[in-house]
Amino acid sequence: MAVLHAAPLRLGALSWLVPLRAALVSLAGLGLLFLLVAVDLSVGDFPIPVSDVVSTLLGGGDEGQRFIVMELRLPQTVVAVAVGAALGLAGALTQTLARNPLASPDILGVTDGAAFGAVAVIVLSGASGYGGGLVTGRLQELGLPLAAFSGAMLTALLLYLLSWRRGLDMQRLVLVGIGLGAALTAGTSYLLVNSRIQDAASAQVWLSGSLNGRGWEHGRPVLLTLAVLLPLSLLLVRSLNAMLLGDDAARGLGVRLQLAQLGVLVAAVGLTSVSVAAVGPLEFVAFVVPQVALRLTGGSRPPVLASMVAGGVLVVGADLLTRAVLPFPLPAGIVTAAIGAPYLIWLLVRANRRRTA
């Protein structure tokens, strides 16, 4: 490609490299994201024209429209955008850190820990009725996100402790994560096989990841976490770039390796856990989004900001599809995979054809 990937920007004594193509892709993605959000807010049982949605968001609109848009539809859309952005960011961080496109937070076992926690609550509480479960009442309502979050956090802690051995070796970390994840998945399967079919069915719905009926109480933790961890991630981008060259080279360039690795992991794990707690495991997003963003922007590692935007686009798009287009309800996790996977496949096919031509 003859297009410049980056241009230097000079301001007096300061100068930094602006990745032009990544910036353009991110801007285009942001435009698409706003369009999707507006359409997502406009469709439903009571359709509102997109122009009215925009004016309502800016403070206009009549009372009914404001109620529908701001109270009923906005929370779910915001959750979709926030979760998509969080997962895209988390995936970009871990894939860069481990220098392996497969190293999404899902593979590190964090998602599996969350799934185990949540499925345990569903199965033990007997959410489908009959009482008799160990976990009942108030605890059960509050329990699902909480169990998922604590499952993810405990897994991450275990992961860190188990892979720490005179420093943190990324390959060991990933392999330990796979081991933990496999054991936790087996635990989940065990619960599913030995539960009543009603519980297994409701666990299955949660396991596919669903945006349905998500409100501010689900969105607020994700937004707060993003607000804290996004600046941290941006601070770490410099170190990440150096770490791409290998651990020794990064140390040589003055990166405090252990600290940077810990920071990246904390950011990735935090973002993944709150997302999973909010909507269930949208397994595919954290893996596919950074790879798609990388192929759109070019460059040597998944771009951080473009991944966030792409994540938002994917999840809001999935929400829109489930609510407006599909004739029957499907969990959003299924739809994100059904859109994201073919798109990645198409990008791969195109790249391969170009290479051979």
Binding site: L102, G340, L348
Partner: protein
């Protein structure tokens, strides 16, 4: 003499690196035979080893003979076959993708098989294991061919795009599977028992059904293994040393497809074996693929048989499915292994 003295100081510098030997290979075969005998003897009704060997070769119609022949021989044979297939497939997969995280499931084999089985249950009402096996095999084949086509350039399969294509196709198929399963709980009820992976309840006919695929897969594996060492140096170097990279890779990936597809068809998706066993084999026999692949096969067989035995014993008289035990025990064991040793880089 001088060469052995010269070689001496090099050994402690890389303590994890071992080289393969025929002796260890022989020991592994012996261990596998012993595990097979144990697998015939142990279960909810334990039999003395002497009795097992007695009735093994002449079926005298006694209760012990019936147990051994009708129940335990099929599952033992299947466990060994599946373990060998997955072990070899795992070693080939990690070698050809040059990715230590790659497992045979990444070719879309397991997701394809699961999807086909769910469609068979949901729309065709098929509910027997032999029927599942045909559909699983077909689904695994279609998925793997798709992954192979997407992940290849004209110069042959490209490691990174192969892995990404596999993950993408798997996710797509998994989405279809889940879409059916969340909408129909009867299908979920049948599917949830198939998907954990189990060697029990199968008759020998399932084994005969998948055997041709396994044999062809092993043949392809044997043909592609010698070139794997050179391929680790990169395609260009391998080509300059007289190898035809795309042919080697096509053979190797075809072997993985056949082996993993047949294994999944026989016992359902038994995860983790193909991923872990090559790491164990590398620790035991070094990084030379000519040793690594047979080591991985035997270790895989051993691991699956052992897991199957454990699953029978822990919750007697019920049993745990081999896939669940594999990951429940294997996961933490793998973590310990990773912690204790310096992992060998590919």
């Amino acid at each position: 003499m001088t060469s052995s003295i010269a070689a001496e100081p090099a050994a402690p510098a890389s303590p994890g690196v071992r080289r393969g030997s025929a002796r260890v290979l022989g020991l592994l075969v012996l261990a596998l035979v012993a595990a097979a005998l144990l697998s015939l003897a142990l279960g909810s009704r334990a039999l003395p080893i002497g009795t097992v060997i007695d009735v093994l070769f002449h079926d005298d119609g006694s209760e012990a003979a019936t147990i051994v022949h009708a129940l335990r021989i099929p599952r033992t044979v299947l466990a060994i076959a599946v373990g060998i297939a997955l072990g070899v497939a795992g070693a080939l997969m990690q070698g050809h993708t040059r990715n230590p995280l790659a497992d045979p499931g990444l070719l879309g084999v397991e997701a394809g098989a699961s999807c086909a089985v769910v469609i068979a249950i949901y729309s065709l009402g098929i509910h027997d294991l032999a029927g599942y096996a045909w559909f699983a095999m077909a689904g695994a084949g279609v998925a793997a061919v798709a992954v192979f086509a997407i992940g290849s350039t004209r110069a042959g399969p490209d490691p990174v795009s192969l892995v990404l294509a596999g993950a993408a196709v798997s996710a797509l198929l998994l989405a279809i599977t889940q879409a059916i399963v969340v909408r129909d709980s009867e299908t979920l009820d049948a599917y949830r028992f198939w998907v954990v992976g189990s060697a029990s309840g199968r008759s020998l006919s399932v084994f005969w059904q998948v055997l041709p695929f396994l044999l062809v897969g092993l043949l392809f594996a044997a043909m592609s293994t010698p070139g794997l060492n050179l391929l680790q140096l990169g395609d260009d170097v391998a080509a300059s040393l007289g190898l035809t990279p795309w042919r080697q890779k096509a053979l190797g990936i075809a072997a993985v497809m056949l082996l993993a597809g047949a294994a999944t068809a026989a016992c359902g998706p038994v995860g983790f074996v193909g991923l872990v066993v090559p790491h164990l084999a590398r620790r035991l026999g070094g990084v030379d693929y000519r040793w690594l692949v047979p080591y991985a096969g035997l270790l895989g067989g051993l691991l699956v048989v052992a897991t199957d035995i454990v699953g029978r014993l822990v919750v007697r008289p019920a049993e745990l499915q081999v896939g669940i035990v594999m990951a429940l025990v294997g996961g933490p064991a793998f973590v310990l292994l990773v912690r204790r040793t310096r992992m060998l880089k590919l």
